[in-house]
Symmetry: C2
Subunit: 536 residues, 2 copies
Amino acid sequence: MPERARSIWGWGWADRFPDEDARRDLVEKAGALLAFPNLALLPLPALDRIVLPPPRIEAPPDLAAIVRSDAPERASHTYGRSYRDIVRGFRGDFSRAPDLVAIPSSEDDIARVLEWCAKANAAVIPFGGGTSVVGGVEPEVPARFSGVLSLDMRGMDRVLDVDPISRLARIQAGATGPRLETALAEHGFTLRHYPQSFEFSTLGGWIATRAGGHFATLYTHIDELVASLRMIAPSGRFETRTLPASGAGPSADRLAIGSEGTLGVITEATMRVQARPLHRAKANVDFDRFEDGVEAARAIAQSGLHPSNCRLLDDREAMLFGVAFEKKSVLLLGFESNDHALDAWIDRAIAIAVAAGGRCPEGKKTIGPDAVRGERGTAAELWRSAFLEAPYLQSTLVSLGVVVDTFETACTWTRFPSLHREIIERVRAAMKRACGTGRISCRFTHVYPDGPAPYYTFLAPARLGAELEQWAEIKAAASEALMAHGATITHHHAVGRVHRPWYAREVPPLFLDALGAVKRTLDPHGMMNPGALIAG
Amino acid sequence: MPERARSIWGWGWADRFPDEDARRDLVEKAGALLAFPNLALLPLPALDRIVLPPPRIEAPPDLAAIVRSDAPERASHTYGRSYRDIVRGFRGDFSRAPDLVAIPSSEDDIARVLEWCAKANAAVIPFGGGTSVVGGVEPEVPARFSGVLSLDMRGMDRVLDVDPISRLARIQAGATGPRLETALAEHGFTLRHYPQSFEFSTLGGWIATRAGGHFATLYTHIDELVASLRMIAPSGRFETRTLPASGAGPSADRLAIGSEGTLGVITEATMRVQARPLHRAKANVDFDRFEDGVEAARAIAQSGLHPSNCRLLDDREAMLFGVAFEKKSVLLLGFESNDHALDAWIDRAIAIAVAAGGRCPEGKKTIGPDAVRGERGTAAELWRSAFLEAPYLQSTLVSLGVVVDTFETACTWTRFPSLHREIIERVRAAMKRACGTGRISCRFTHVYPDGPAPYYTFLAPARLGAELEQWAEIKAAASEALMAHGATITHHHAVGRVHRPWYAREVPPLFLDALGAVKRTLDPHGMMNPGALIAG
């Protein structure tokens, strides 16, 4: 079976990129919706004209079976999938490709690769699905290194063991979302972790970047799903004990979770899995005023009902996602359970939302085991939804000359109104300066008792050749607003190279010193993903 | 108002210690229940005969207002409240009292004290409620130090700020449970964190030791209630940002949480508080077989119902706590909410427990807002319950010649049956060897989808003068069983000095190296609580 090809520059499968007719169609639609001037079908990058610099380092014979240096491998490990990455790939610029790509199939392979890289003075960039939107897998490393090796975990992608009693699964770090869900489904389980990158991103990448799942409350961050993990650091092996909880010292897991490849290579983890949902309940609640929707989301987040979905869309997002055809905000409510019908839960959540000024014209929709079972394997599967299509749309819009990106954060409920006002104001001003015009919209992806995780999408007309400068101006405006209002630079996209300056301002300087000391202990040569998270 | 005096050797308030008649009564009852030989009213320690060595260091004049060296202060900072501590205090042995006790009232005070201690080569032991049961506040430090200063946080015990929108409260580390709950109640909130030491232990102590609350599922560990914290380390200030969640790098909070005073002094934290419960539902379910109770607890922990109580007591515990008068295990189920009636929740939980082989002869009991409000300020208040009386009973039993202690852990559901068997076997054998006989009982304090947190109590007859050796043999047997079966050395009692050897075997060696590197960064002189958690 020939392997389905990934796009070398854009999101996802190459065969999913729209043809000329579809792109022309989108130019019209987007033109009408956004009113941007000059949308056009830009010429697609010609892959046969991509030129890579020759590799600066060469693997020794005993690693020849693991390490590759062919152009397609190197090109496909040059970027993640941020707006910056897509633009540079679309321009055909792969000048900073890694010198080598290693594809280990065991922890021993990894240890041998790291050992050789230390000797060869090569930087090592752990690579999962390559979907980083923050420059997390980009071979931008300090000049002191003689070369860069991208360490692709795709050869270690199995579910090794499932414990149905404790609902735990030992899974290799290179397993993608569909791969591990398929294997878990055979046992009736699911990890139930659906980041937007689900189709391509990997367990190891999720853990390394503290990924946020699709669900609104409770066990949605990957952090909470890790029962133990294994990591190969240049200094040795790091393996934690599989425990439901422990009060013994600072959490060893939490030091590795979020380390973004800077401390070592996460090789596997024992994950908390769940029985597949058999009951679902949902409702859409409309609000004339976004602020009322915010209040409803807050009240539900503080109610102890723990919805699986509590996604507030502002009027622009609601139209974009096709859940509204007039100017209104919409709160998408959902509950899921393997164990019980959810009427008491959804009824109360709707009542709270209505009390906050919402309308629920269509009422609740509940389905039980038979209907839920019927959904499986059909187009209704969660990861096939519009949510997971959005990254494809982004790549397409780039090919039409649109600056299009998202950013996300979390803050307290108390700080949200002023943060939101200032984000809208600053980003609009930056788009006006950089692009002449632009659109920004907001939704809540997650809600907590103490605050929401707002997610912003912005679109503006690109000026060919100046896109990266346009984007940088908008991104800086957004990030400065986050810093000024006590928000975090990232709720689930990670730090990588893009967010590093703001991350350094967000955390205590002494914590950065401590992290540096940890890094020197686990990675004495400083060769693990240098430049990501902390200064390399 | 004269200050109510704490017992110098035993648990809690001195005036709560039973008189001769009550102790004689208990000798009879305990004798009948336990069938131990030789229970007797041992003579209480004569406080006027306690001799402290003279302080080896003296505070400089500019710290005179903060630092004390009188005998009562020094004696009351010599021990925590483990069995070992109570026995040594009961013997009148205060030979290892700290040289000085500092009582700061500001972060600046703390910084000044730390600065002077560094110069004076003194070790510093942060001290909250002094309720450690693992030697966490004991001045047992390496010989290289010229003296020991106990840093008592009781002068920093205020709730500084309450944010009712985001339900956050900024609280100083020295606030005890009753102190902070009283202040929060004025705003209609509660931290809802009730460790057994609640009456005396402090927020800072809870955070430093990763305390577990009273509740069975969800937000019970102090870890999850911390939105941000502040710590004064010898190297400087460490202050994290107040956020509902973040995906930016490894969690800085989680590095300080569980650091047990070895990295710095936690001075305050912004905590996630909750609206006070207005609805409660509860039920007791009986099981002839403990194993069926375990299955019920597991099914409920995996159901997504999130009970506030899911406490399984084995037959001995059930009799001890007076919830059963015949040989049976009992599962105590409870739900609490500020927002909604809980019938759907408790009904389903009972159904699950009954399906696992339980009987619920009295059915559920639910109460609504009026009844819950009526409970307030009465003897029904949670922290006045038998649960919080247990430590008083332990001290009394020590005064009658009983070796009595508890230990606790967490493990997967899969490992629990063999772990449990081996613990019972090994501890019984150790009690037989060391004491001739003994009793051990078990309850679950917390349940997780992937495993329970079992809590064991053991009682055995003491041999006067040899109690610490008897205890050490039993404790080692229990701890070795935990290590052999992949459990943790502590689910919520912390590591301190007592658990350190097993902790070192539980976590990855590389993590200990990393922790050492962090300590050298935050505490270059190694003077913060040396000997606790990691080798000093």
